[in-house]
């Protein structure tokens, strides 16, 4: 069986019951809550699960034991916040090969409360510690952000374009009750916000929240027999790649090789191109990242990303609705946001999003992990080809 072509489906998708501040639940508890919400959404139970994937600080075999799963297939691929896109892709391959029949993918992170979460620590012998941390490129806000001024200058763009991304996504978040930031904002307000790492101000940087999410993946054949068969979301194409965990070592600071490679494979395996996409989720850890994605995925040409956002194409009513939950900048960001990008894509394809876009049939989810280190891409649809 081909793992693409709509032969594999997401049949359960849910987040933790609430997101944002969860002071009374541990990180592993967020995994569990999301897992059971997603299984209930699918009309399945933990006993139906025979494959499991997750990423984060808790090893997958500890999670399966905690959840009570007897797995015959495990995937602990950990490539930062895009890991869950890889898991969907790997699960599809495993199911197509008969290695598992029902795969549960979970995420839970106590990013804000840090309850049951290991302390942040650095391996001081790592390449990053030796060649980046000691210069102050220690945290995402002061490392992931470093190439942005280069990107802007090479395109004749400006810092205002970073603020425009925030403003566009906040327009979506205004109508999303679960979003942490829902107050309309302006370019001037974003630019006048507290400086985090010039040129980045606070609202150009992702939130830090407590949250979890989970997905249930199975064959389309099995999906047809489930109570929510009409809500199944099918995998049309996918891709994955990596470049460098060191931001300084990108081949081109103004473009992600990993974005280009994984999105190319996703489009090719789906037999589709950018013009076929109705809805885009582009993992926005920081405001420059969606601009890279718009260009690297081929939605716009070189240097056109800023004007595309300014002209409203990614905003409500635009031609390419993007980050319609408000994104990591306004909705939620536990630390590994890829799970939430997939969740919103699924909601849009099911017609169940808070800011539902009319006529969404094909969605694209683009993830990023470990700064510009890794990239996963999914093409999803509510119709089997």
């Amino acid at each position: 069986m081909n793992m693409h072509d709509g032969n594999i489906a997401i049949v359960g998708a849910a987040e933790t019951t609430t997101i944002g501040l969860r002071p009374n639940i541990t990180e592993i508890g967020l995994h569990v809550e999301a897992a059971h919400n997603a299984l209930a959404d699918a009309g399945l139970s933990i006993r139906d699960v025979d494959g499991f994937a997750s990423a984060g600080r808790t090893p997958v075999f500890e999670l399966t034991d905690y959840l009570g799963i007897r797995p015959r297939w495990l995937d602990g691929t950990m490539v930062g916040g895009t890991s869950f896109l890889f898991h969907v892709r790997h699960a599809a391959a495993a199911i197509a090969q008969g290695l598992a029949s029902v795969v549960l993918i979970t995420h839970g992170e106590s990013g804000r409360t840090r309850l049951g979460s290991a302390p942040y620590g650095f391996d001081m012998t790592s390449s990053a510690a030796q060649f980046e941390f000691q210069y102050g490129a220690q945290a995402p806000f002061s490392s992931f952000t470093v190439p942005a001024l280069r990107f802007l200058k090479d395109r004749g763009m400006s810092v205002e374009h970073l603020a425009e991304v925030v403003v566009a996504q906040r327009k979506w978040a205004e109508g999303v009750p679960r979003a942490m930031k829902r107050t309309p904002t302006t370019v001037d307000e974003v630019l006048a916000g507290p400086p985090i790492a010039y040129p980045f101000t606070k609202d150009m940087c992702c939130l830090v929240t407590d949250a979890g999410g989970a997905l249930v993946v199975t064959s389309a054949e099995r999906a047809h027999d489930l109570p929510g068969a009409d809500r199944a979301v099918y995998l049309l194409g996918s891709g994955e790649s990596s470049e460098s965990q060191l931001v300084s070592q990108m081949e081109d600071p103004g473009s992600s090789r990993a974005f280009r490679d994984s999105s190319r494979d996703a489009f090719a395996s789906a037999g589709l191109g950018p013009s076929d996409i109705d809805h885009l989720m582009g993992y926005d850890a920081f405001a420059h990242v969606p601009l890279y994605m718009l260009e690297d995925l081929g939605f716009v040409g070189f240097g056109e990303s800023g004007a595309f956002v300014v002209d409203g194409h990614t905003s409500p009513g635009g031609s390419l609705p993007m980050n319609t939950n408000g994104g990591g900048l306004s909705y939620t960001h536990s630390g590994m946001y890829g799970m939430f990008a997939i969740q919103e894509s699924v909601r849009q394809l099911r017609g169940e999003a808070a800011q539902q876009v009319d006529g969404v049939e094909v969605g694209f989810v683009q993830g990023v992990g470990y700064y510009f280190g890794a990239s996963g891409s999914l093409v999803l649809s509510n119709r089997q080809p």
Binding site: T125, V146, A197, Y198
Partner: protein, 130 residues
């Protein structure tokens, strides 16, 4: 920061005030960061070479409040491209840590400072270092 067998030479050279990076004899190119094998062709036939220390500023952010063990003083976190080709993360020193102090593509020269018990390469604007 702790050197490893792959990186010890780099840090020893820095302690002597020299910026040395690796050169691959197979594909005749420099590469950075230090590794036993060339990332372009996989060859282990590589050697250390002292480079000029000339660079240009590719991009930067200003980290207003670095975390320990660094001092909580603003740092220009800079991506620079060496004249020999490779890029590296560093700091721009000898100027106020303000956007008005630097400009993309400006020429830079290597300098060495002590930080947390190690000698590390940093860069200064060429005019300042002359």
């Amino acid at each position: 920061m702790k050197p490893t067998p792959d990186t010890q030479h780099y840090w020893d050279a820095a302690a002597n005030g020299e910026l040395q990076i690796q050169w691959c004899n197979e594909c005749a190119t420099y590469y950075f960061y230090p590794r036993s094998n060339c990332p372009r062709c996989g060859s282990a036939d590589v050697e250390w070479r002292r480079v000029s220390g000339a660079a240009t500023l590719v991009s930067y952010v200003i980290n207003g409040r670095p975390y320990p063990p660094l001092e909580p003083e603003p740092l220009i976190v800079a991506l620079v491209q060496l004249a020999e080709g490779p890029r590296m993360m560093t700091n721009i020193v000898g100027v106020e840590p303000l956007p008005s102090s630097v400009e993309l593509d400006m020429p830079l020269s290597v300098a060495f400072i002590e930080r947390n018990g190690a000698t590390i390469p940093v860069f200064t604007p060429k005019a300042v270092s002359a």
